[in-house]
Symmetry: C2
Subunit: 246 residues, 2 copies
């Protein structure tokens, strides 16, 4: 069997997230599997590097599937992009080694969160950025972001039900860039728990508004529970930018 690797881009606005669901909901994985099944003439199971929530976007999602189809990767690229809806696209189709697994082999991920910090709305950012019109203390947010870097127990920053699985992850960088009224947050690390980036963002916004201190963020990394961290930030501002492999 061939193992085909896809580099995917999608605008998550219209979708119920990545993961296929039993109910007939509109998901990215479901859409792609139906299309790939028609293309290959066999049932296809598409493995993504990870799930993205409803409304979350991707510029560099990676997925792979096994098939006995004889189509060339160029033919697949053209077929998939011809039949995909306007808000999903495949950027690359490549032949992967037999054992490549888009989730298990991932060594890290990079996410971007956009925050529009302006008095007037921006119609071009409404689907892609959180609206946060009030004053934000960037200095305090940068200090708190610095505390998040490194290896920590992030169990305060996940909605995952209690489980035996480790909640220790390493965040390599949390960068905050300001471009006029647009704030760009970059989160890069070796792995992220369920809802982790959205809770980190919701917590950093509390720091920016002066509702939470930098010291308090440090405390959250010392075994605090989910109820002590900030709320889930709006999904629409979040984009999966890149998945890293060896």
């Amino acid at each position: 069997m061939r193992n085909i690797r896809l580099l995917l881009q999608y605008d998550g606005t219209r979708y119920q997230g990545w993961q296929r669901q039993e109910s007939n909901e509109n998901t990215i994985q479901g859409r792609l599997e139906r299309l790939l099944g028609r293309m290959c003439g066999e049932e296809i199971e598409l493995q993504g590097s990870g799930r993205t929530d409803a409304g979350v976007h991707a510029r560099g999602q990676v997925a792979n599937f096994h098939t006995s189809s004889a189509m060339s990767t160029e033919e697949m690229f053209d077929y998939i992009n011809r039949y995909l809806p306007e808000d999903i696209a495949v950027l690359k189709v490549t032949e992967a080694s037999e054992r490549f697994h888009s989730r298990l082999n991932a060594t890290g991920k990079r996410y971007q969160y956009l925050v529009h910090n302006g008095a007037a709305p921006d119609v071009f950012l409404r689907r892609y950025a959180i609206e946060e019109p009030g004053r934000l203390d960037l200095g305090a947010m940068r200090k708190a972001a610095g505390c998040l870097e490194g290896e920590h127990d992030f169990k305060a920053f996940t909605s995952a039900k209690k489980s035996k699985k480790s909640t220790i992850r390493r965040i390599d960088e949390v960068r905050i860039e300001k471009e006029g009224e647009l704030l760009r947050f970059t989160f890069q690390g070796n792995g992220f728990l369920f809802h982790m980036v959205r809770i980190l963002m919701g917590t950093l916004l509390e720091v920016g508004r002066g509702e939470r201190s930098v010291e308090d963020v440090k405390r959250l990394l010392e075994g605090a529970g989910r109820d002590q961290a900030g709320p889930l930030a709006d999904a629409k501002g979040l984009t999966l930018m890149e998945v890293y492999y060896e």
Copy 2:
């Protein structure tokens, strides 16, 4: 009567252009006039700096209307943005001098055209850029763009029916910037004829593809007819960026 000036932003994707129409089509001016009428409790005629075609976007459209309403400009700003659809926003509401007229007083305009020049699609640009996947000769396009600058008779570059009105306009700058796969064209001048920017863009794309020479573009400025210039470029790539006043 007070004279109120609006700075407007809109995503033109869903609209039949700026201009109100007898038929019940969805236009920017129609949407705004109905809303302003409810706000002021009187019939409002909104004067725009110019029409934008169906699908064309704006980041700096200017319009004005007269009213006897006693509302403050801050109250108007909040009311309008609360009731406008997500793809239209007012960025500023200001008191204008009695004689200010957004179209007649405009001394110039700046437009932006985005062209996505990549092999793979980009879902985030699909509503905002022309897709032009093939090779483009930027050098030749820049030479042709240079020929357009200055005062010329642009009658080859308008769809307007023959009329006594002058077709002479001055273009101050046609700038072409490359950001990866994205080409940004900036057109600034003292005024633009009906469809002029779209025909200029369609003609520059022919030059980029090698279908038309730079010399030929010069010839078009020496009294050629509409039939000799290039086609209308797709409206979705065009954005009205700024309107200039004394």
